[in-house]
């Protein structure tokens, strides 16, 4: 379990990192908690790894106007601890606390996790629920924004081009006041999820989103259910959730559907107690 030979390039500036990224076989390492094992298993075989976690501009957590911006290289632990002088949405701090183990959280980063796009990981579902926008920069230094809800194309597939890298994650500051519920079912503490349910409702913003994660695909949005919950302020029945999931996920086994249904109903119950 040793990687193929590669060079490790720790970028001094974002510009140099982007430039290096524009060559075949180069890849970003931003914490290494997923790419590390994949390197050792030789599932990824880069010629160059570009380290970006030391770049200050990727480390910032700050508020610009009514937008909260979190640098892509901010670790899960920093979000968990919330000690950067900027209030983070309580949902984010709650989710961060349950990612893997503290040792992983000390190294793993928000941007790294989103770019890796593991369907069973926490951030892809959470950021979809919170309507996050990803700030993405290319080799020429041009930035674009893409909503998380469309960024992930499928398991381990995203809208990133070879020369692009995530620099920050943005969301409305007001998301800090949203009502939210998050429930994760996994075999043991720190393990990847078998099912995730998430709900975020912000009456003033007229925002309601229901997301099912760990489906073996990109997080599943259930807009009709979200609208209905916001309109009626009642939780859908287990039977309704089950038939909705059966419609959206016809390939899911009965056990998988049971777990997704339970995670989602438990997440909703945190917003609308039964």
């Amino acid at each position: 379990m040793k990687p193929v030979p590669f060079s490790h390039n720790i970028a001094d500036t974002l510009q140099l990192a982007s430039k290096a990224l524009n060559t075949d076989g180069s890849k970003i390492i931003a914490g290494g908690q997923s790419i590390g094992p994949m390197l050792n298993l030789r599932l990824v075989r880069p010629t160059t790894l570009i380290g970006v976690t030391r770049l200050e501009e990727l480390q910032k957590i700050h508020i610009i106007g009514d937008t909260l911006s979190i640098g892509a290289a901010v670790t899960h632990a920093r979000i968990e601890d919330g000690i950067d002088g900027v209030d983070l949405p309580p949902m984010m701090r709650h989710v961060a606390r349950s990612i893997a183990y503290r040792a992983v959280r000390n190294k793993g980063t928000l941007g790294g996790s989103l770019a890796h796009a593991d369907p069973a990981a926490d951030w892809v579902t959470t950021m979809t629920a919170l309507d996050a926008q990803l700030v993405i920069r290319d080799a020429r230094g041009k930035s674009r924004r893409e909503p998380m809800a469309s960024f992930m194309r499928g398991a381990y597939r995203t809208g990133l081009q070879q020369d692009e890298c995530i620099t920050a994650v943005e969301m409305p500051v007001a998301m800090g006041q949203a009502l939210w519920g998050y429930d994760k079912i996994c075999r043991k503490v720190g393990e990847f999820a078998d099912a995730i349910g998430a709900i975020v409702i912000h009456p003033d913003l007229k925002y309601a989103r229901v997301v099912v994660g760990a489906t073996e695909d990109a997080p599943l949005l259930l807009p009709d259910m979200a609208r209905e919950i916001a309109r009626t302020a009642t939780a859908p029945s287990l039977g309704d959730i089950d038939s909705t999931l059966a419609t959206y996920l016809p390939g899911a086994s009965r056990v998988k559907r049971q777990l997704l249904k339970t995670a989602l109903s438990r997440a909703i119950a945190k917003v609308i107690p039964s």
Partner: protein, 784 residues
């Protein structure tokens, strides 16, 4: 002595482990050391058509054809119908499981060796694959070993007549059970480092093993060397559990390469190698019929047991030890009048079966304990009462059970009673009802077992082993500085033996264990021992050290008497000195007189010396029996299938407790592994025999958050047949958890009509059982 037998002293091993100064195979530094990597089979069953080495690297890449002089691992058995397998250290014509070694590559670093391995081209022609015992036993099944008639290593049969019982029994319970294939997952995987020592004219091999002296014999045999040309050193070993109890193909190829390349070569097992090529244990299948009267009193048991033993037999314990133990131990701690059992050791396309902590008993205990609860449900009685009704009572001790096992001491129903009291079984019904009123589902379960330990010659011989453990030797020496050295060919792999055998010497020699240096695991420095397995270390090595220490103490008193100018019988050895009344000479003074100033001693002094090697075997060699009852209370989340262990108690009796701290640690660790077996661990194969659980993200081990705070209780029924009344206890706690936990789960699932009979009891299996029961109920209702 305050560090003697029974003392709660911290372990001598701990300082180096906590400070990171221990030396495992992977820590050894040596100049010119190269590392090895293997090309392993990507297919479960295939013919090898050709092997192409990367050009220019032929001298670093070896196939079996290159390793002239190296023979196969071929465990023999004395049982007549046994089929022998030849496991070539590198596959010769065929591969028979995913992960089997085909080619060895060496390079200055492991990464470079893996680069080389990747460049080797092996052309394979796939053959039909057996992933289950059912397909392997089907008529005209593809054979793993062409020269065999079928895919059976061995069948055994035990038979008492059940005809009458079948006719008259009030209650008949039929069940099928299964246990998953597992990995043992020691923290340190296997590893071996070998070099040729020119002066000693000897192959020196450091290897992560429980059985250095056995490995020496096996290596010499397979490499065509004399024993004198091989020295095996087990350095620090990070967990054994049986995994490091057998001769490994990698030990042979590392040895061959070191000898022929003239440089040190090391291989270190990585986690993927462990989870695939090392997936080698626990997989059983049962078909059981139990007969009882209407009070739940067991009348007879009839069983078929299939053990999926994989492609090759391990050396020396054979592919058949597991099934032999299963058939012999199924009756467990119960007073059973009639028993019939057939066992089948079936060859499949998986790694060769290696006995794991508890050896077969975690499987048979699970099967028997679930059957006891099923009988209790059938007769409408409390499972605890039915259990106590059938356990061998203290009044019947010693007791020879139906398969001839000689239970030496103890009171089995009393252990069950104590466990029930500890877990407050009396008030459980109330707790359960209260929980149910808020939609929570609790269950309680019990599991009782015996642990045969330190069994010797006749027992192993009856299992057909060509290599049988018998006696144990140890050397104890008074050093010139007045400290003591103990040398044992046994091996410590984390079980604390370095401390506990020092405690035995401490008792005899009245020295603190800090002044007793223990050396183990080096065949060049220690007397012969077959090693650490079968819960034999403390009984056997402890017994040998006791005997040698007793004799050394006698000799010390003789010398002390000379110096005190009295008779030896007038002296007493205590507090590190020989006393005659108030006058004393210290062990240091005695040692110095012997080694440095013999002129102080009389001419006719006994010259046997201050270095004693003694051999030992208990007065019976059928083993001494530890026993216990485990009890658990669980909550089953019926929406997710998750099991939360709310309480877990163990009441055990292992005779004399040499070090209660270490014993508790053994219980915690064993029970943790048992919980892995019960709820988490499972190697999953697809239909082509590909292991799908090749990382620790897929092969789930319980972590600290999944384990309960175990509560322990003890009684002590010393064995009259072993020195100091010691019984082995290393395996015990791993045996019972599946029975206790699954009985508790089934208790919680009773309202849903669901029952779990396969482990691990994963959320998936529990949900599926609930669905199946619901479907069956709905079908029935629809039919009505």
């Amino acid at each position: 002595m305050k560090t003697g037998i029974g003392a709660k002293v911290p372990r001598k091993e701990d300082a180096r482990h906590l400070n990171g100064t221990a030396q495992f195979v992977g820590d050894i530094k040596m100049s010119h050391l190269w590392e090895a990597a293997y090309v392993r089979s990507p297919l479960a069953h295939a013919k090898i058509k050709s092997i192409t080495k990367p050009e220019g690297f032929e001298d670093r890449v070896f196939s079996m054809a290159d390793m002239v002089g190296l023979g196969p691992i071929a465990a023999q058995s004395t049982l007549p119908t046994y089929n022998q397998s030849n496991h070539w250290p590198l596959a010769k014509d065929k591969v028979r499981f995913v992960g089997e070694c085909i080619v060895m590559c060496v390079a200055p670093t492991r990464a470079e060796a893996e680069d080389l391995a990747e460049a080797v081209i092996v052309d394979l022609e796939p053959l039909p694959v057996h992933v289950t015992v059912d397909t392997a036993l089907a008529p005209n099944a593809e054979k793993l070993h062409d020269e065999w008639e079928n895919n059976l290593f061995l069948t055994t049969q035990f038979d008492t007549d059940l005809t009458e019982i079948r006719k008259t029994a009030a209650v008949v319970v039929e069940r099928e059970y299964s246990t998953a294939r597992q990995c043992m997952a020691p923290m340190e995987g296997k590893g071996a480092l070998a070099y040729w020592d020119g002066k000693a004219d000897q192959l020196v091999i450091y290897t992560s093993t429980q059985v250095p002296h056995l490995i020496r014999t096996g290596l010499a045999e397979c490499m065509g060397l004399d024993q004198g040309e091989v020295r095996v050193i087990a350095p620090d070993v990070g967990g054994g559990f049986g995994y490091k109890c057998v001769l490994q193909p990698e030990e042979l190829t590392v040895g061959w390469a070191a000898k022929h390349l003239g440089r040190p070569i090391r291989w270190t097992e990585d986690r993927r190698e462990h989870l695939t090529a090392g997936a080698n244990t626990r997989e059983h299948k049962y078909k059981m019929t139990a007969y009882a009267d209407d009070t739940g009193r067991l009348l007879g048991v009839d069983a078929d047991i299939w053990v999926d033993v994989g492609a090759y037999s391990v050396w020396p314990f054979t592919a058949c030890l597991e099934a032999a133990q299963a058939g012999g131990n199924l009756p467990g701690p119960y007073d059973l009048g009639a028993y019939a059992c057939r066992t089948y050791s079936v060859a499949t396309n998986k790694p060769g079966f290696t006995p794991y902590r508890g050896v077969a008993r975690p499987g048979v205990c699970f099967a028997m304990e679930l059957t006891i609860d099923a009988i209790a449900r059938a007769v409408g009685r409390d499972p605890l009462d039915v259990r106590r009704l059938n356990l061998v009572p203290g009044s019947k001790m010693p007791y020879t059970n139906i398969t001839g096992k000689f239970y030496d001491t103890g009171d089995y129903p009393e252990a069950a009673r104590q466990a029930a009291e500890m877990i407050d079984a009396k008030s459980f019904a109330k707790r359960k009802a209260e929980a149910a009123s808020t939609g929570r589902h609790l269950g309680i379960g019990f599991s009782s077992f015996t642990e045969q330990s330190a069994h010797g010659t006749k027992v192993f011989a009856s299992w057909g082993l060509a290599l049988v453990p018998g006696y144990e030797q140890a050397m104890v020496k008074l050093a010139p500085t007045g400290s003591v050295e103990v040398k044992s060919g046994n091996q410590t792999t984390g079980q604390g033996l370095e401390t506990t055998i020092a405690q035995v010497a401490s008792d005899w020699l009245s020295l603190d264990i800090s002044s007793i240096k223990v050396t183990m695991g080096d065949t060049g420095m220690t007397p012969y021992s077959t090693g650490a397995y079968a819960s034999r270390g403390m009984v056997m090595a402890g017994g040998a050290v006791s005997k040698a220490s007793e004799e050394l103490a006698r000799r010390i008193r003789v010398l002390g008497a000379h110096l005190l100018q009295c008779k030896a019988e007038e002296t007493e050895l205590k507090d590190g000195a020989v006393f005659r009344g108030a006058a004393s000479v210290s062990l240091k003074q005695i040692a110095q007189a012997w080694y440095l100033r013999p002129d102080l001693l009389p001419d006719n002094i006994e010259t046997t010396g201050m270095e004693v090697t003694e051999g030992y075997k208990p007065t019976i060699d059928t083993g001494v029996f530890t026993y216990a009852t485990h009890a658990a209370v669980v909550e089953v989340d019926i929406e997710t299938g998750k099991v939360d262990i709310l309480d877990y108690v163990i009441f055990e009796d292992c005779g004399t407790r040499v070090n209660p701290l270490i014993l508790d640690g053994q219980s915690y660790g064993g029970a943790a592994q048992g919980i892995g077996t019960a709820l988490f661990e499972e190697v999953i194969y697809d239909s082509a025999g590909q292991p799908l659980t090749s990382t620790l993200a897929d092969y789930i081990l319980p972590g600290p958050a999944e384990l309960p705070s175990f509560r322990l209780g003890h009684s002590e029924s010393p064995s009259p047949y072993s020195r100091h009344g010691i019984k082995g206890v290393g395996e015990g706690a791993a045996i019972a958890p599946s029975g206790a936990l699954v009985n508790a789960i089934n208790d919680a699932l009773t309202p849903f009509g669901a029952e779990i009979n396969s482990i691990p009891a994963t959320p998936h299996r529990i949900l599926q059982a609930i669905f199946d029961a619901r479907d069956a109920r709905e079908m029935l209702e629809a039919a009505e």
